[in-house]
Amino acid sequence: MTESALGTKSTSETIILRPTRGWSALNLGDLWRYRELIFFLTWRDIKVRYKQTVLGAAWAIIRPVMTMLVYSLIFGQLANLDSEGVPYTIFTYVALLPWQLFSKAMNDTGRSMVSNRNMITKIYFPRLVIPISTVLSGLVDFFIAFVILIGMMVYYDISLTSAIWTLPLFLLLTIISALGVGLWFSSLNVLYRDVGYMLPFLTEMWKYLTPVAYSAGYITGAWKIIYAINPMAGVVQGFRWALLGIELDSSATMTMSISIGVAIVVLISGLFYFRRMERTFADMV
């Protein structure tokens, strides 16, 4: 008994709690110490998501496939939009994968602080754990739906190009964008519940600003630069390039840099804003 008491003493750390003001450091060390909690919360979200559903994880496939069918009918058949030389179904499905990952992550993360309020008001842990694990848990659906894509690529006999190696980077860009936007919305949602009401139609509008149902080739001239401010526009074009070999146009380096730059700025500012708001979460949520 005495030994264990001595043992604990030697490992003890001193924490000083005092009021803080203004911006604070990200304190990523603390986050690293709680990495297992990120894992467990991600695992919980995945585990629980399709409980008590008949179709279970099949929903991860049904959602993008149904959307793909609807788009193919309306935009592919009726509106007869250009799909840059590949079948419209796969053209839109490739875009739907990152888009649905992004929109789900943005929506879930935006609500995550409020839906986990009972943890936040009772126990200390770095609050960043919650939005991060929420975004990560969305990846499982992405990979399940990706299996269908592989099948479709085999069916349509699409040969891979060397650009496939850039796919992980575009996936990373999706996660960065989703987390950045999600951090802003989750902190704002603690303060203003309006965010929760705004998210569904914001998602809807955002989808039309992203070339999910149509080709980015419709955007021309100076509009390209404004269009690139939406990081998801870069992501979708990147996915089509990496998987379907659809060539990027000459201004791609610039527009892609804008998309990546915006995503990083949103993520970093989101992290700092979240940290700033974090200390009042327990009192406000």
């Binding site: 008994m1 005495t2 264990s4 008491a5 604990t8 003493k9 003890s12 750390e13 001193t14 924490i15 000083i16 709690l17 005092r18 009021p19 803080t20 709680y34 297992e36 909690l37 894992f39 467990f40 919360l41 695992w43 919980r44 585990k47 629980v48 409980k51 008590q52 009972n118 943890m119 936040i120 008001t121 009772k122 126990i123 200390y124 842990f125 603690v190 303060l191 203003y192 519940r193 309006d194 200390r279 009042t280 327990a282 009192d283 406000m284 949520v285």
Partner: protein, 428 residues
């Protein structure tokens, strides 16, 4: 000085009333605020002190104390005295507004057991999840898993989703996880208010083990007997301020007696009665001696009259108005209701609207000397509790003339009845 576990200095926590839990702003409010901000600013500037303007409350104010390593400190105070806020600050859930807290060692908090439990997950999965939320490493949980399951007593259902658990099983499992956390400082809030008596004993046992291992415990409870059993020293909080620190026995006495009028009568103002009490409206509780006057001190050789005055704004079916009698240590002496007797019970099946006095007499030569607390309860059995005040009034029983007073010693026990003793020499 070097073996302090917690040092709290001038700690203050201010809440804006608009920011109290359950309330939140809408964007519209903020826009309105931006427009009216200059006016508010001016008004605030005119207020006597910048910090104390009307829409804020100090949940804690200038609280300073130290806790040494290995000490178990009790924290007592009425509802709203700031106990929970103090624990929230110490467990880093919320930041202080003022002052400083220094904590040496890992803090584990049991502010509410079962936080983060997910109903769809099995017992096994929840142990891992909850353990991680409480700050345990995976390897640590692996190591203690069997012990946790054993302590909880739910082995058979460990692979069943916890939504199928009874509330008792759920709590046992939740507490088991929390109890196996090994922090250097443990902060406990009212976890013992749940579960059956046997489980409570188990929990208390676990907590004193923790203390014996040289870890520091901060224990908040309304259960004075648990505080007395577990802690040697306690602090008393009142309206956010630390008003008393002493060995537990004295602190509990102070707490039980503080805030009571000395008149032998307790009255309720309209703002002290919660809305949920309607249509029951308590008016007064009185302690009277055999001459019929309200008294703070009664002699143990006299009968004591307890009287509840109340009004019913509507008739209530099955109402019973009752009293608890408790010692200064918080042990119950008795519980009694005005419709305990069958004929009263039949007669007052439905109590009509009106103004009533329910009174009873505690016979002479029953209570031992000491300070007693009277609590009051108005309820309909298994239907609704209209009103309850566990510490409505206190009075002192004076032992003059009680049996055995020829010896000046303190008599153990809550009652001191006059018993008929016979002494018979047996001749052989």
């Amino acid at each position: 000085m070097s073996n302090l576990a917690i040092r709290v200095e001038n700690l203050g926590k201010q809440y804006r009333i608009g920011l109290a839990p359950e309330r939140y702003k809408t964007l519209r409010d903020s826009i309105v605020n931006i427009v009216t901000w200059p006016i508010q600013r001016i008004r605030r500037g005119l207020a006597p002190s910048g910090e104390d303007y009307i829409d804020t409350i100090w949940a804690l104010r200038d609280v300073s104390f130290n806790v040494e390593q290995g000490q178990i400190l009790g924290v007592i105070g009425r509802n709203g005295a700031g106990k929970s806020t103090l624990l929230k600050v110490l467990s880093r859930v919320t930041e202080p507004t003022k002052g400083e807290v220094e904590i040496r060692g890992r803090v584990g908090s049991l502010l509410e057991v079962g936080t983060g439990f997910h109903p769809e997950l099995t017992g096994r999965e929840n142990i891992y999840l909850n353990g991680a939320i409480l700050g345990m490493k995976r390897a640590e949980i692996d190591r203690k898993f069997d012990e946790i399951v054993d302590f909880s007593g739910v082995e058979k259902f460990i692979d069943t989703p916890v939504k199928r658990y009874s509330s008792g099983m759920y709590l046992r499992l939740a507490f088991a996880v929390a109890a196996h956390l090994e922090p250097e400082i443990l902060v406990v809030d009212e976890v013992l208010a749940v579960g059956d008596a046997e489980f409570q004993r188990k929990c208390l046992g676990k907590m004193s083990d923790v203390a014996q291992e040289g870890r520091t415990v901060l224990f908040v409870s309304h259960d004075m007997s648990a505080i007395l059993r577990l802690t040697e020293e306690a602090i008393v909080l009142e309206k956010g301020q630390l008003v008393y620190r002493a060995p537990t026995v004295e602190a509990v006495d102070y707490y039980m007696i503080s805030g009571f009028s000395e008149s032998g009568e307790r009255t309720w103002d309209a703002d002290e009665i919660p809305a949920s009490a309607a249509p029951f409206r308590p008016i007064a509780l009185r302690v009277r001696n055999s001459k019929g006057s309200n008294v703070d001190v009664v002699r143990s050789t006299e009968a004591i009259n307890l009287e509840v005055e109340y009004a019913l704004d509507e008739s209530i079916q099955g109402l019973r108005v009752g009293l608890y009698l408790m010692s200064a240590r918080g042990e119950y002496v008795l519980t009694t209701f005005d419709t305990d007797e069958p004929e009263q019970y039949d007669k007052f099946g439905v109590r009509p609207a009106g103004h009533f006095i329910s009174s009873c007499t505690i016979p002479a030569d029953l209570l031992n000397e000491g300070r007693y607390t009277v609590g009051m309860n108005a309820s309909a059995f298994r239907v609704k509790r209209y009103f309850m005040d566990e510490r409505a009034l206190t009075f002192t029983v004076d032992g003059m003339g009680a049996p055995g007073k020829q010896w000046s010693e303190t008599r153990m026990g809550l009652v001191r009845p006059r018993l008929k003793w016979r002494i018979e020499p047996i001749e052989q």
